[in-house]
Symmetry: C2
Subunit: 429 residues, 2 copies
């Protein structure tokens, strides 16, 4: 058999993931050549600092201080973008590479969430591929499963634990009963959370990933601004305790769902039934649930971050390119209509926790405000008197319009007998 | 854009899955054309009886009484084989189609387990593809995940619940405490088990699927005869009860694992920790756990059978072929060596249940036999006296050689004080 020419790749960004890709390609090189039908050869690399020990030998590869030079290097067929960030060098690199007809493999969810549809069109115009398995859910091949494995299905819902940091914090809060700030501080010490944790705990990272998944699943334009985002800072041990009592677990879920009003895209703390597979995914693991019209429900679990899992996803894309199995980045669908509906139109059940003064008539006042907005209660738990005089009242609602519930909660929060702003956590059934 | 010519398919076998494929292609036709980049068009069908109402309109397609005619039909580019069986018409159809250079999509695990390697070579020689996503785990795209999504990894283990009938029976036995025969009879009434349930409950169906998965994961020749097979007939409510007490669940698992002695391929009832994701997959669902050297552990769950999920998998293969994304059926790997090791070399922990006469010295006799074979006990449970005088003694062992344990159990079974043949269930950690 005549050996095909090697696929020559240039890697920009040599953090833990970049080094992981070098390591994987080196360790499993022979196996990959056999599986891909041709060699995948690193020819060039680029990073900000050259002298750093990254635990891998970079001497065989051409070095570029400027990532743009990688996109121009005639010995590079495919650019692997692992710089990160939704603007600046990463965006310039990808635009230049695609513009030159070089395919790009990226793990950059922020970049895709903001520019994915445009970059996908650019790739197609230039006959290049834009591949991004590593951008969502680390080692779980959810992009491939959604786009190819379940291609026969009209997707009705995709929902997932897309951020390991948040899942670790919520799992640990549940296991230990400790408060959010406390667990976050520990997670930072352990390296599970960044010094600036905003991107993770405020839901932005999960929202970037959800925007990408929604684009694939529903054929809507990838548009980060259409994702409703709410993080986990306000989750208290009390809410976790009540969730248990009600048979739920609290997870930060990213959910994209087809409703008769349009596609909802939302990231927020979510109560899911404790018996569901996704409720049992703890720690830094990710999981994705996909519902299709013929396949039913498919659940995928695995490591959502880290050098090995992310490198596994990057290399899967590289092998697809080497084997000529590229797929269009996003196929926009006419039937997706004008896409996403606003969160105010969301219609679902909720958990509500109020801290009230223990006095006659409180419950009646609360119930009246809910009834005025046609929000119907499903269950209520009123607990023992608290030392400081504030009594928690917890209730769950039947499915109700987000806008109506918000109005009711605003008025409930203004009641004299309600001592703290109401807490609301959406329930997903 | 110039529209590409349609991919013309012929479907042989119009049972529930065949009808499901027709339905899916009809319902989601426009979506599929968009996603595949060209139309997928049924041109011909074949089945034994023409006049049956299958709930789908077959009038637009050419009808062939003989499936062989489908493989010769010049208007058929791809043959979808849904006849079933590892010999006879299915085998002849696939050989003829591949021989004529037509690609084949099949859901036939028995055929693949017996002839997969040879048929894969035939396909390659003739420039055709042999695709079989639907042959394993129904709607779960495990073939694609293993072959493409995790292509960068050296796989160390793949293990799964591959037979929904067995999982339904074991789940129901656990939930209800009822005996195997009783639950099987109900499953037959409900249509979850066949009138002749042998293929399912004796583990053959799972073993067919495991042989296919092992071939993909390890690059060993697909060879059904190398799979150790043990079914679930002998699982008693007592064993299920003890499993719970010890923190395990009993699942029929198919496991292919790389050991330093070679690749083990085995299907048998297995005790898995109740906290593992796979332990919590109940009823007719399937699940597969894949372990790779870079990705770590990935778990996939979904419906393992039925018209919709199986059609979803068949259509995924068709879209891959339409889009020019075919993969070689099996890539045999030089490093796989001479493949599978015998079950006697298996080395792992076990659960053992003995029914003994409640008299002094019994435990000492049992312990002595185990010690003679260097099988070391991990835990022992001795329960209350039973009405008939037989007392269950349950023990778990540290990892020990299958051959040694078998010898010990044979001698233990021959002890006067041991009233029934010992029951052994392997534990997977």
């Amino acid at each position: 058999m005549v050996e095909s020419a090697a696929l020559r790749i240039g890697i920009a960004g040599l953090g833990t993931v970049g080094a992981g890709v070098v390591r994987l390609l080196t360790e499993n090189g022979a196996l990959l050549t056999q599986r891909a039908g041709r060699r995948i050869e690193i020819t060039a690399v680029s990073a900000r600092r050259r002298g750093v020990d990254r635990g891998v030998d970079l001497r065989p590869y051409a070095w570029h201080d400027d990532p743009q030079a990688l996109a121009q290097d005639p010995n590079v067929d495919v650019v692997v973008e692992l710089i990160g960030g939704d603007e600046g060098p990463a965006l310039r690199l990808v635009e230049t590479a695609l513009g030159n007809g070089k395919s790009v493999v990226t793990a950059n969810k922020a970049l895709l969430a903001h520019h994915g549809s445009r970059l996908g069109r650019l790739a197609r115009q230039r006959g290049a591929d834009l591949a991004f398995e590593a951008s969502v859910a680390g080692g779980i091949p959810v992009v491939k499963v959604l786009r190819e494995g379940l291609v026969g299905n009209r997707i009705s819902r995709i929902s997932g634990i897309l951020n390991g940091t948040c899942n670790y914090i919520l799992s640990t809060m549940r296991d230990t009963g400790r408060a959010f700030d406390d667990v976050l501080a520990d997670a930072q010490k352990l390296g599970y959370a960044e010094a600036d944790p905003t991107l993770d705990i405020d839901g932005w990272d999960a929202a970037h990933k959800l925007a990408v998944l929604a684009g694939i699943a529903f054929g809507t334009p990838v548009d980060f601004d259409r994702v409703y985002v709410e993080g986990i800072r306000h989750i208290s041990p009390l809410d976790i305790e009540y969730a248990e009592e009600l048979g739920y677990r609290i997870k930060l879920l990213g959910t994209a769902v087809r409703t008769d009003r349009g596609i909802e895209q939302r990231v927020h703390p979510t109560m899911v039934l404790a018996s569901e597979a996704i409720a049992q995914v703890d720690g830094v693991f990710n999981a994705v649930v996909i519902e299709g019209d013929h396949v039913g429900r498919v659940v995928l679990q695995g490591r959502g971050a880290g050098a090995g899992p992310t490198a596994s996803a990057v290399v899967a894309d590289l092998v697809d390119l080497a084997a000529g199995r590229g797929s269009p980045a996003f196929v926009e669908s006419a039937e997706a209509g004008d896409g996403t509906v606003s969160m105010t139109e969301h219609d679902g059940p909720s958990y509500i926790r109020l801290m009230v003064r223990d006095q006659p008539g409180v419950i009646a006042d609360i119930a009246a405000e809910l009834r005025n907005e046609r929000v119907s209660m499903e269950a209520m738990i009123q607990r023992r008197h608290q030392p400081d005089g504030a009594v928690p009242v917890v209730l769950t609602t039947h499915p109700s319009k987000e806008a109506a519930l918000s109005r009711a909660l605003e008025r409930i929060g203004a009641l004299d007998s309600v001592l703290e702003p109401p807490r609301m956590i959406r329930i997903e059934l």
